[in-house]
C-alpha cells in the first residue's frame, strides 16, 4: 500500500501552483476531504514559496525538491528541500508573524500555517547548505468509492 514520489523543479514562482497541485494529485489517492486537500496545498505552497524567496533569493536557476510518501498506515509524509542560504535560530523564525523580509510584504505566517495544518513539522537547516522542512499528517480514512 505504500506509495512514494519525489520531484524537483526550477525555483520559479510559476512552479508554486504546479508544486501544490502535484502533491494534491498524488495525495488524492487517499480520498482526502476537499478541506484536507486545500490545507495540504496551502502548506506546500508556504514551504515552496519560502525556498524560492528566502532560500534562493529568487534565483530561478536553482531547484527545489519535494519528497512525498504515503505510508502503509495512510499517513502522509512530505519533505520540501532547498540547497539555499539556510537559516540560524530556527525557533525564532518559526514564531508567528516573524519575517526577515517585511519589505516584500511577507506576513511571517508561513511556519504558523504549516504547524496548524499538519500534525508534525520539523525544520532542518544549515547556513549556506540549505533547508529541509518535514511535514506529517494523518488523513481521515474515508472508504474509496472505486478501486
Amino acid at each position: 500500500m505504500r506509495n512514494e514520489m519525489i520531484f524537483s523543479f526550477s525555483s520559479k514562482s510559476e512552479n508554486e501552483s504546479f508544486a501544490r497541485t502535484t502533491v494534491a494529485s498524488f495525495v488524492s489517492q487517499l480520498n482526502p476531504t476537499l478541506e484536507e486537500l486545500m490545507e495540504i496545498k496551502t502548506v506546500v505552497s508556504e514551504a515552496v514559496t519560502n525556498a524560492i524567496i528566502h532560500g534562493y533569493h529568487e534565483d530561478a536557476s536553482k531547484f527545489i525538491t519535494i519528497h512525498c510518501v504515503i505510508t502503509a498506515h495512510k499517513e502522509l509524509e512530505l519533505t520540501i528541500e532547498d540547497e539555499g542560504v539556510g537559516m540560524d535560530h530556527i525557533d525564532r523564525m518559526m514564531e508567528p508573524l516573524f519575517t526577515s523580509k517585511p519589505s516584500l510584504e511577507r506576513s511571517g505566517m508561513g511556519f504558523t500555517i504549516m504547524e496548524s495544518f499538519m500534525d508534525h513539522v520539523e525544520v532542518f537547516s544549515e547556513v549556506n547548505i540549505g533547508t529541509s522542512v518535514k511535514l506529517r499528517r494523518k488523513l481521515s480514512l474515508v472508504k474509496p468509492v472505486f478501486q
Binding site: 508554486e16 501552483s17 496551502t42 524560492i52 510584504e105 511577507r106 505566517m109 504558523t112 500555517i113 496548524s116
Partner: protein, 120 residues
C-alpha cells in the same frame, strides 16, 4: 494558475473581485493593480470579493495587510466576503479578522460600508 482581478466602484466603495488563486506568484500584480486603482480613484473603502478564489496562502495575507496599512491613515475601511473554509481559517489565524470585516455577502459588505442597499 492565473488570477483575474476586476474592479467595480459602487458609490464610494471600491470592489476588488478576485478569480483564481492568490499566491506569491501573483502577489506583485495584485498589489500593483489594487494600488493603481485605489490611489488613482482616491478611494479607500475596499470590499474584497473572494467568491471565486479557490486558494490563498500567506502571500495573499501579506498583500492584504500591506494595503490595510495604506488605508487606515486615510480613514478607509476594508470588508471581505465569499471566503471558503480554508481561506477563512488562514484569515483568522493571521488575525486579519480583527482589522477587516468578514461579511457573508455583497449586500452585507455594502451596508457595513454605510451604503444604503435598498435605495439603489
Amino acid at each position: 494558475m492565473a488570477l483575474h482581478i476586476n474592479f467595480q466602484l459602487i458609490e464610494d466603495v471600491l470592489f476588488v473581485h478576485l478569480e483564481g488563486e492568490v499566491d506569491h506568484h501573483v502577489a506583485d500584480s495584485l498589489r500593483k493593480a489594487w494600488r493603481d486603482e485605489m490611489f488613482g480613484r482616491s478611494c479607500f473603502n475596499i470590499v474584497l470579493d473572494f467568491t471565486h478564489v479557490q486558494f490563498m496562502d500567506s502571500s495573499g495575507i501579506g498583500v492584504i495587510l500591506g494595503r490595510y496599512k495604506e488605508i487606515i491613515g486615510r480613514d478607509g475601511l476594508i470588508a471581505v466576503y465569499g471566503m471558503n473554509e480554508t481561506i477563512q481559517t488562514i484569515f483568522y489565524m493571521a488575525g486579519l479578522s480583527k482589522i477587516i470585516k468578514v461579511t457573508d455577502n455583497k449586500e452585507e459588505a455594502l451596508s457595513f460600508m454605510g451604503v444604503d442597499v435598498h435605495a439603489k
